[in-house]
Each structure stands twice: as C-alpha cells, then as structure tokens.
Symmetry: C2
Subunit: 243 residues, 2 copies
Amino acid sequence: MGDPSIRLFVTSPLQAGVELAASEAQSHYLANVMRRSAGDSVKLFNGRDGEWAARIIAISRKSVRFEPLELTRPQETDPDCWLCFALLKRQKTDLVVEKATELGASVIQPIITERTQADHVNLDRLRAIATEAAEQCERLMVPEIRAPLKLAALLNAWPSERQMFIADERRDGPGLRPPADALQPIALMTGPEGGWTSAELDGIGAHPLVSRCSRVSLGTRILRAETAVIAGLALLLAGSSQE
Amino acid sequence: MGDPSIRLFVTSPLQAGVELAASEAQSHYLANVMRRSAGDSVKLFNGRDGEWAARIIAISRKSVRFEPLELTRPQETDPDCWLCFALLKRQKTDLVVEKATELGASVIQPIITERTQADHVNLDRLRAIATEAAEQCERLMVPEIRAPLKLAALLNAWPSERQMFIADERRDGPGLRPPADALQPIALMTGPEGGWTSAELDGIGAHPLVSRCSRVSLGTRILRAETAVIAGLALLLAGSSQE
C-alpha cells in the first residue's frame, strides 16, 4: 500500500468513489520524487470535506488520478483567527506564513504600516508554503493568504464584530490571553521591526469600525517582529485548543 | 552622544567610573561597522549588574574602552526555565536558540534522543546568536548554552525539584499552562522531528530523579520541532510575565 503518510491538499470535492486528479506539481512529486505506483495510498483534504484515505489509480510523470476510499477525519471547525502582520523581508515572511499555518490562523493578511520596510510579496510562493505546512501538520484547511493592504484600507473594511488584539511592543498592556469563546472571530495584529507609530495605535483605537480592540503585551522583552507573530498565535490558539 | 540604542553584553563588572574593555569583535563592530567615536554612548549589561549607560572613552579599530556612567535598569530575576530540545539541523537550531533567548529561557540544553538526526553543534556560534538576541531584545542576561547530552545522561543528573513539561506530539495531554509560581524551576522538553519514542516517554516518567513531570499538548496540530519550542516557551513564559 506504500507510505500512507503522504498527505495532499486538493481543490476537488472528496467523496467515496468519485475520482479526482492531482495537480501537475503533485503528480511530479508523487511519481518522480516519492516514486509512488498505482495502488499506493495517500491522504487527501480540501478544507471542506474532511480527510480521506485515497488510492492512486493511475500515475504518470505529469498526471495522477486518485480514488477516495473512506473518510479518516471529519472536517472540523477551526478557530476563526486572522493574522494581520506588517510585511517583513522575504525570509521572515516565509517563516511567519509557515508558523501561522501550523498554529492555526485562518486568514493571513500582510499589512503595510508607516514603518514597514518591505513592499513586495509573492502570493503564489506564500500559498505554496502554507499548503505544504498544512499538509505536514495535519490541518484540515489551508489558511487564506490575502494580498497586502495598507493599514488604513484594512481598518476601513474591518468587520466590527471581530475582536482585535494588537501586539504592542511598548509592553504596558495586559498579557495576551485566549478569548473565552475559542470560536469567536478574532485577529492578531503585529507591527513591523520598527514598531507601530503612536498615531497608528491611536488611530486604530479610535476607528469607528474597530469596536473591540485591546493592546496586549507579549512579555517583558522586545520580541522581533516574527517572534511576536509566533508567540502571539501560540498564546491565542495553541493554549486554547484543548479546552 | 551618538545612537544610544547600541546595547552590548560584556563579561567585566559594571560599576560607575570603573573602566572596562570591549572584546575585539565588539571593537570592530563599534569602530568599523557603526563608526562610533570617543564620547558616544552605549548601553552595557553583563547578566549580573543590571544595564548601564556608558561612554566610549577610547576607540580604535581593534580596541574600545568604556566608562559606565549610570545604572539604567537594575538586574532582574528572570524565570528559571531550561529549554531541553532534541538537537535539530543547523538552521533550525539557530532559530531555536535565537527565539528561546528572546522568550526568556535561562539555559539551553541540546539533547540527543533516539530519533535525533543531527549530531553536530557549534557552541561558539550558538553563544554568539544568543548574545546578539539578548542585546537586541533588551534582556539583562544571556542564556547559558550547554553542550549536547544524551537523554539518559540528562535524566541521570536531573535536579529533582525542577518541574519538567514534556511536549508530547501525541497531543493527548492537557494544554500547556504557565506554572502558578513564575519563578519556580521549570524545564520544557521538546523532541526531534520524528518524535519521542514510547520507551523514552515511559522512561522519563519512571526515572527516579524526575519526580515532577507532565506530558503536555501544544494544540491539535502536529507542530514542527522548532515551532513546538517557540510555542511552548511562549506559553510557559510570555504569558506569565505580566502576572
């Protein structure tokens, strides 16, 4: 049956006996890298229909077809947590996307703040990183990676029921704690290497659409921007997931 | 007075008016990279005497002398938290050391477990990474980086009063929570990419010197080994530091 630990994200519906095709990249991976054969098993998920054990029914170097056999895990409701992070340089942005996927962010929204230095992002690359991280960490969905937005544009479209936790490097806020209701819509906001400006912090708090907002501390030290993302998501999500 | 944000770790005592010398690497950094001059200000810390504003009183390409002027922050008692992590490949070990320093580990102990793949570590390199991270994140101490130990050797010298939290990727333990007393001796233990073996987990729990030990979960997903370190330390330390 081959190595059943290969786990792939697909976009097609997953239903017992309803065949589907792998992408060209997945076909290359299965045929040329992992050297799978017809009859071998894989696991598939699509973010909607749970995780399925499936069988490879046809394989060539550029095309693979699967047949889903049985549901191995039903789809779960993930916490609804957006990560809105000031865009970082490429390597740190890659790290943020990978770790935010593992820790359970549902949406990853790069933002451009006054002191943000980076301005370029390759969304296809980030989506590939998030997909691979979700495949490896046994998530049942891949977070949505959105195109960068200026902070003002994000606020002007803010869904007012979503509670915002702003990681404030001045460290005088209360410590970050997970919300009492693990499924309520929340967002973690983290600033750039140079920090938020006072005007930005005041502007967020005063924005008419941002009715639920807390400035929170991540501890007594000044965390690097990417560390603040990982620590903040761990505190919001990893700590609450067993409750 | 120059840029007062340069912050350096030194080994000499810090006392008002008692001159001290920079290392050769620090002298190069100050003279050639940052182009400081005599009279410019820096901040110094040594892990014992708090943080001091100091003045450069002599500078050349290979040698700098400082005069401490005044204490800017008294030495604080950091949480006594060891990180015992199964050694990872170089890039991930570097990341672990940097992030563990930012998040407040007091000792960083690489361990060799049954499924540990990596076996080499450059302690000087890791110490340099920890020192730079401490300088940047405003810590008042640099964690001690210990030479790798086999798991059995670590356990055979375990201080029995130190509470051990084992990140168990099987995820059936309770969620990780900070200890009630933020200053009690604790340790986070994280496994290699391939996880702990059952024999290892059973052996730790049954070891006569390990009297206080919990297997804990870091959430519902399978975190990569380095993510488990960062998330675990955030939950143990960042969350408790404001209490």
